[in-house]
């Protein structure tokens, strides 16, 4: 995918690039989780989504609880440092508010699958799933035999989301994006996707980082949206800390269908991207 970054309001970026039935990846490995972008998609009402993520957490619990998700592709569905995802459980165990199809992998498999997507390959091979049960329940885990050694390796298809969303610390004025700290799978998510929307803390004249820092050139990104605090309640290395109370609170909110609905209405469905800046007050570095 070669594209050209446009600076857009988040509302407009989502309106232009996201449609019902698409596969979306909101990536972030505990760090830099694109909450603001996900909330905007929730507000605009897109449904029948396939949501992809290694570590779906609160934000996917929210999508699932709202009934927007047809299928989830993932490797670890938990509330980090807290416990289980209660809306996700309700969907899988009780089909509420609707049945949720799942495609489950290991982290190694998902990481390899994104990597293959970024590399333009149809699949990835790795030494994985040895003795593990997932390969018996997932049709997307196959094997390939090494033509040199005869070793049987696991194979998974490349991930190629319609749209990848990430949150990053900075973009420069041309739209080049810098990610620092725990960089996770974000570069691969962007490079594997057909379109990529990046929310950033700030736009600067010059990225001014290390020659080998993780930078996404502007022509790999479809839209850049400035949303200060857009990763809240997760954190942005060098900008603000994780809001741990919010993660603990989520466990209570998500425990009850009605409490969840009320909370979502107030904090997501009738809120705006601008609200995130307030949420990081007191957490800033």
């Amino acid at each position: 995918m070669t594209t050209m970054a446009e600076f857009l309001a988040l509302e407009e970026a989502v309106r232009r690039h996201v449609k019902d039935g698409m596969s979306l990846a909101f990536e972030g490995f505990t760090h830099l989780i694109p909450h603001a972008a996900a909330h905007e998609v929730m507000r605009q009402g897109m449904k029948d989504l396939t949501l992809i993520r290694m570590t779906p957490d609160i934000v996917y619990d929210q999508f699932v609880g709202l009934g927007r998700v047809k299928k989830m592709v993932f490797s670890y569905a938990g509330n980090p440092g807290v416990g289980l995802l209660r809306r996700f459980r309700d969907a899988v165990e009780n089909g509420w508010p609707q049945v949720l199809e799942i495609e489950e992998h290991s982290h190694a498999a998902m990481a390899n699958a994104y990597e293959a997507g970024a590399a333009g390959l149809p699949c990835s091979i790795f030494r994985g799933y040895l003795g593990a049960g997932l390969k018996d329940v997932s049709p997307n885990i196959k094997s390939v035999t090494c033509p040199f050694t005869g070793e049987k390796l696991a194979a998974v298809p490349a991930l190629q989301p319609n749209v990848a969303f990430i949150h990053a610390q900075k973009a420069d004025k041309k739209g080049n994006v810098l990610i620092e700290g725990i960089v996770g799978i974000q570069k691969e998510a962007v490079l594997s996707a057909k379109a990529a929307i990046v929310t950033v803390e700030e736009v600067v004249d010059n990225l001014d980082s290390h020659p080998n820092a993780t930078v996404l050139p502007h022509w790999t990104v479809s839209a850049i949206c400035v949303v200060r605090g857009g990763a809240h309640p997760s954190y942005a290395h060098g900008h603000y800390d994780r809001d741990n109370a919010a993660y603990l609170e989520w466990d209570k909110i998500a425990a009850d269908r009605d409490v969840f609905a009320v909370w979502m209405e107030k904090n997501v469905l009738t809120a705006s991207p601008d609200d995130f800046a307030k949420r990081i007050e007191g957490l800033e570095k």
């Binding site: 505990t30 760090h31 459980r89 030494r127 040895l130 996770g184 741990n244």
Partner: protein, 256 residues
């Protein structure tokens, strides 16, 4: 400081003792993370701790709440991408100890963190495997730590999230797995290692004050004991102080 200690503290400290300065340890969150950091803060200052978020050689001042806390990156030697972590560092065979917790395990160290009940229609949907399936097969050895309970230590796990010794014996070799698999289990009551032939976990040492009866009452399979059963040395003052200080620092940091 009181000399009394909780079973939880004994578990963490006993687990920490198994680690050495030479280990490259792939750290699961929760009990494994505490044990690994106590080792680093006491007898194994040169141990290398790796978290799956990409942080290599990390030295957190407080216990991370998640596998990807900023603290892990800020104190790390270097932080790599997640695909690199799984490809070059774990699959590359560089990890000496994979340290895992479990929701459910059996006597052969097979682990379930996926579902309670049937996979397609589970009674309880758990988080899933995350890094565990390949940590279990790619680390040179696997250490495990969990609190004993009839729900946790079961005769039959509901799902093979990650493979320990399978049905026991040479099951790993039969599947072409070249690493050793689970070689140590530390619970809040005892230290277990596998029988060299059957690979069934056998109690080698009881923590101070623990009886065989308590071990059996909290374990879903019929427990075997070493003929020369030992008693785990109690926590030293240094170990206990280090652990409690770490927990205090962690609580303070989390609250702030």
């Amino acid at each position: 400081m009181s000399n009394a200690f909780t079973p939880d503290e004994m578990m963490t400290i006993a687990a920490s003792r198994a680690l050495t300065n030479e280990d490259i340890c792939f750290v699961g969150i929760g009990a494994p993370s505490a044990a690994c950091n106590i080792a680093r803060l006491t007898h194994a200052p040169d141990i290398t701790l790796i978290y799956e978020s990409g942080t290599i050689g990390t030295e957190p001042g407080v216990l991370p709440l998640s596998i990807g806390d900023g603290e892990l990156c800020e104190t790390a030697l270097t932080t790599v991408s997640v695909p690199e972590m799984f490809r070059y560092w774990l699959q590359g065979g560089r990890v000496t100890i994979g340290f895992l917790g479990a929701a459910q395990m059996d006597m052969f160290g097979n682990i379930n963190t996926t579902v309670i009940g049937d996979y397609a229609a589970p009674k309880t949907r758990l988080p899933g495997g995350g890094g565990a399936p390949e940590i279990a097969s790619s680390s040179a050895q696997v250490y495990m730590t969990m609190k004993q309970s009839l729900r946790g230590m079961v005769d039959q796990i509901d799902f093979f999230t990650s493979f320990g010794h399978g049905e026991g014996g040479d099951h790993r070799q039969r599947l072409g797995i070249k690493t050793k698999g689970p070689t140590l289990l530390i619970t809040d009551l005892a230290i277990w290692t596998p029988d060299s032939k059957t690979k069934e976990f056998v109690v080698r040492s009881l923590h101070p004050g623990v009886t065989c009866k308590e071990v059996q009452e909290t374990c879903g399979w019929s427990v075997r004991y070493d003929s020369e059963l030992e008693e785990t040395p109690p926590p030293t003052d240094l170990e206990l102080k280090t652990l409690r200080d770490l927990k205090t620092r962690t609580r303070a940091a989390t609250r702030s």
